[in-house]
């Protein structure tokens, strides 16, 4: 275990984090707010980063180091990301700050704040900006902007990019990261422009664009996107949510004019079908509540997009919707967005592989000698990949159940305990009942909040980097 090199990489990431804190500092200065929380945070993060990045280290870097680095970097990044919140004095405990920061970086969007609008603009900007950085990933950003450290950088980005298989767009990792961030920035700015044209204030446009881009869900309004009560804003955000939950490779294929391959993507079709199907089901279910076809469709469509992409914005308090709609949304939380997107959840491609291997298993029981392969996009999925998908799904459920078990110590109802665990692991944000779209997570005990923060990181990194970090064999010498 080459811990020194891991710490050196961590140091560099912290330097990037401290640099990114300059943006909210600027916002705070523009609005004439107290810049001290940011100055302190920048100083601490930069000092720590500098100290670690000058460590002398050997260049030995293997999968083990890669996984440990990713796990450690995310945990430390979230920890230091909580500093501005802590120094601002609006939070009652450091655990709350940590929860908020983890929720930001992992693009969950769950909050312990009951009155968001009371916070200064600079702090809210940082809160949403963490979504934007965490969405595409801090390590992907690092490989895009930092010169290579001579280490195998794909070990880092691989663990951070969601999906069952990791593939590059172009041969060079640094260039792949640059292309990804290029597309990401362009789409974000496009959304800011659209929202501004739809009548949203510029500051709010940025906040919501960050929330959408990272599929996070922090808003600067207490009742989220519902506060604008504008059809245009709802639709712009819903459409961009869908755009950000697609695999970014799709945009690269479009840019390189390979339209045929885009049409052949099973995952894309499955995702769009799931959105359409869930919208229809919920529309039918909630029609009696609104008795207006356009309104019904508007709320149903927005909520389906918001949940399947694991964003967590809301335009209406859907806790008043019937149970059936709740369960459709819960299923969408499990499913999540496409692989290679900024969204969370199990990812559509994994669900597809899971369903196809279930079908294969059934065929196999009926025809014990049958031999079938699982395919995706017309290509054979490796048996090892199928295996890892099945293991992943199993782990996913186990993590949710164990987290729910610990949270249940707080003695809330089953819906609350379970949905809060699920919403954290899937990086969605709102859950059911007390933690629903209108509620928040303030009432939980510090232990539950810590467990949930950890769950968010576990969910964002797709479980294994964190499990590796806590595995004893990782730290053994031999």
């Amino acid at each position: 275990m080459n811990l020194k090199l891991v710490l050196k990489v961590l140091g560099r990431i912290l330097l990037i984090e401290s640099a990114s804190l300059a943006l909210p500092l600027l916002v705070a200065l523009i609005y004439g707010e107290n810049p001290l929380p940011f100055l302190w945070s920048i100083a601490i993060t930069a000092l720590l980063g500098l100290g670690l990045s000058v460590l002398p280290a050997q260049k030995r870097f293997f999968v083990r180091e890669g996984f440990v680095a990713v796990g450690l970097i995310w945990m430390v990044t979230c920890l230091l990301g909580a500093l501005p919140f802590w120094f601002s004095g609006y939070f009652s405990s450091f655990v709350d700050c940590l929860f908020e920061s983890a929720s930001g970086f992992t693009t969950t969007g769950a909050s312990i704040l009951s009155n968001i609008e009371a916070l200064p603009n600079g702090i809210l900007f940082w809160r949403s900006f963490t979504h934007w950085m965490g969405g595409m990933g801090v390590l992907v950003l690092a490989t895009a902007v930092l010169p290579s450290m001579g280490i195998r950088s794909h070990y880092l980005t691989q663990a951070e990019t969601p999906g069952p298989v990791f593939s590059k767009l172009v041969p060079k990792q640094a260039k792949t990261s640059k292309i990804l961030y290029g597309i990401y920035c362009a789409l974000t700015l496009l959304e800011v422009a659209c929202l501004k044209l739809a009548g949203m204030p510029l500051y709010d446009s940025f906040i919501h664009a960050f929330g959408t881009a990272g599929t996070g869900g922090f808003s600067n309004r207490n009742i989220s996107v519902g506060a604008y009560n504008s059809m245009a804003v709802d639709m712009i955000i819903a459409v961009f949510i869908i755009l950000f939950s697609l695999n970014f490779a799709v945009y690269f294929l479009l840019l390189t004019r390979k339209f045929r391959e885009v049409l052949h993507s099973d995952e894309l079709r499955f995702f769009l079908l799931a959105v359409a199907g869930a919208t229809v089901l919920i529309s039918v279910n909630i029609y009696p509540l609104y008795s207006d076809l356009v309104q019904t469709f508007r709320y149903a469509f927005f909520q389906v997009c918001s949940i399947i992409s694991t964003t967590g914005f809301s335009t209406t308090d859907w806790s008043f919707w019937p149970q059936f709609s709740h369960l459709v949304l819960i299923m969408l939380m499990f499913c999540g967005a496409c692989a290679g997107s900024t969204g969370g959840g199990m990812k559509c491609s994994r669900v597809l592989i899971l369903m196809r291997s279930i079908r294969r298993e059934i065929h196999h029981i009926i025809h014990p000698r049958s031999v079938e392969v699982v395919t995706l996009d017309g290509k054979v999925v490796e048996e090892s990949t199928v295996h890892s998908v099945l293991t992943f799904v199993g782990c996913y459920l186990l993590v949710i159940l164990s987290a729910a078990l610990i949270i249940s110590l707080d003695n809330f109802s089953f819906s609350v305990s379970f949905s809060s665990a699920l919403t954290c692991v899937s990086n969605v944000g709102p859950g059911l009942e007390a933690v629903g779209p209108a509620g928040n997570f303030a009432a939980f005990s510090p232990l539950s909040k810590l467990v949930m923060s950890l769950c968010m990181i576990i969910g964002r990194l797709e479980i294994f980097p964190i499990l590796v970090l806590f595995s004893r064999s990782t730290w053994r010498r031999a």
């Binding site: 195998r152 041969p171 060079k172 490796e382």
Partner: protein, 465 residues
């Protein structure tokens, strides 16, 4: 450059690694998932699973816009078809590995009809290398430049050599007047470029560059001038042996070949009636003994098994043979073998990759100084490159002592017309000169890359002059 490599075997993987180090965009295509995973884990490349003869796969790999495609699968036919398809898709340059001797005869037509720009045959290239070593037995390995007018040789110092323990600048005038230069030294796996104060020690491997006859004289002075090799014992009758026999058939060496398969022995004897073919297990010491191994001048181990080759070579070394050539495909074994004293360890993979790399670098130099050839010496720890100086080369006509070169770079030889110059401080480069550069790092692609910019200060040239 955008490079597509089809076939991720030993050569493909090694090539991909080298090309990534030289900052090319590399895409590797193979049908084996595990091989691809290993490559993707270790190198910054893109991997695509599929058959290289499929147009879709090649297009996915970006062959339509690639500058170079190297086909190194284990099937000659796949390699050929792959190059043909890639060329039609629009790949700039195609290299195919073709190893079946049956194709060798019609290679010219094949190349033309299938639009293959370069054909590389690892076994044949290896045989060429071995025959060169057999013809110049003094050296552990030899590279030639300028069509054989300059040679680079490596040899290992032994106890009692007059070089040992004295700085190079104190060498006798008898050595100094020879036109040669100590251009690299390898000690404990570390390669350095020696200067006048370098003190050679026993077991160092020194590399000399110069005129062939000067090198010959040097070895005579050193008392290591090995007499010409007359009797060679070759173990293993595979493809390399076939090519080697073909090359040696024209010389006056007597060759004894030991091969396990009787069928193969018959075939070889039919083609090369002068060769004494012995059917038997070449790893059997008794057989080697009965064939009078110790009376041979040279021993060549060419079986399919690296381990067998190494062990019987060690046995031959124990029997006191002075020239032992060992084929060893695994790079990690080669290092161990050298450390126990087997100097001439050659790897077909390494040779193939060097040939291709040399061509790739040559292609990059569409402008600027043209690299004519590249040789990797000292286990890949240093490179010897031959450039032609063009008018666009910087600092033409400036005395070498006034130039500031990057560290680890040596201008070893300047060839001007018929003249071969071992440069001194006052020498200068002129257009149309051919220069041979020794570099400790890979990545010198242009003659202009050797200069440190802006801070002119004298450079200390080293060696014997």
């Amino acid at each position: 450059m955008k490079i597509v490599i089809v076939g991720n075997g030993k050569v493909g993987f090694f090539l991909a690694g080298q090309m990534v180090r030289e900052a090319h965009d590399v895409t590797v295509v193979d049908v084996r998932e595990d091989a691809l995973r290993r490559a993707a884990d270790m190198l910054d490349i893109m991997v695509i699973r599929g058959n290289g003869v499929s147009t879709d796969i090649l297009r996915e790999a970006g062959a339509d816009g690639a500058d170079l495609l190297v086909a190194t699968t284990n099937s000659d036919e796949v390699n050929m078809v792959c190059c043909l398809i890639a060329k039609n898709l629009g790949t700039g340059y195609t290299i195919a590995r073709i190893r079946n001797p049956e194709y060798t005869a019609s290679l010219a037509e094949l190349r033309q009809n299938l639009k293959i720009d370069m054909v590389i045959n690892p076994e044949s290239a290896t045989a060429v290398e071995i025959s060169r070593l057999l013809r110049f037995p003094s050296a552990a390995n030899i590279e030639t430049f300028c069509r054989g007018r300059v040679e680079l040789m490596g040899f290992r110092l032994q106890e009692g050599d007059f070089l040992v323990g004295k700085p190079l600048r104190t060498l006798s005038t008898q050595v100094k007047k020879l036109s040669l230069l100590f251009c690299a030294a390898e000690r404990d796996g570390h390669v350095s470029i020696p200067n006048g104060s370098f003190v050679p020690q026993v077991d160092d491997k020194l590399y000399l560059i110069g005129r062939p006859n000067s090198l010959d004289q040097f070895f005579r002075v050193l008392g290591r001038y090995a007499p010409k090799i007359k009797q060679v014992l070759v173990v293993g009758g595979g493809k390399v042996s076939n090519y080697l026999l073909h090359l040696l058939d024209k010389t006056d060496m007597r060759i004894k070949l030991v091969e396990l398969s009787e069928e193969r022995c018959r075939q070889l004897h039919q083609v090369y009636p002068r060769v004494m073919t012995i059917c038997g297990d070449g790893t059997d010491q008794e057989l080697l003994e009965s064939e009078n191994l110790s009376a041979s001048d040279a021993f060549v181990a060419l079986t399919d098994q690296d381990e067998d080759n190494l062990i019987i070579s060690l046995y031959a070394m124990q029997k006191g043979l002075s020239k032992i050539i060992t084929k060893c495909n695994r790079q990690n074994y080669a290092g161990i073998a050298r450390s126990v004293g087997l100097d001439s360890v050659i790897s077909p993979k390494f040779i193939t990759a060097s040939h291709i790399l040399h061509r790739v670098r040559g292609m990059q130099n569409s402008q600027g100084s043209v690299m004519n050839s590249l040789h990797r010496i000292a286990d890949g720890g240093a490179e010897a490159m031959e450039f032609t100086v063009s008018p666009s080369t910087r600092h033409l006509g400036v005395a070498l002592k006034d130039l500031r070169l990057k560290s680890g770079i040596l201008i070893a030889v300047i060839v001007r017309g018929q003249e071969i110059i071992i440069p001194e401080g006052s020498s200068a480069l002129c257009p149309d000169d051919i220069v041979i550069i020794i570099s400790r790092d890979s990545g010198i692609l242009d003659l202009n890359d050797i200069y440190v910019e802006e801070t002119p200060a004298p450079v200390s040239g080293g060696g014997v002059q």
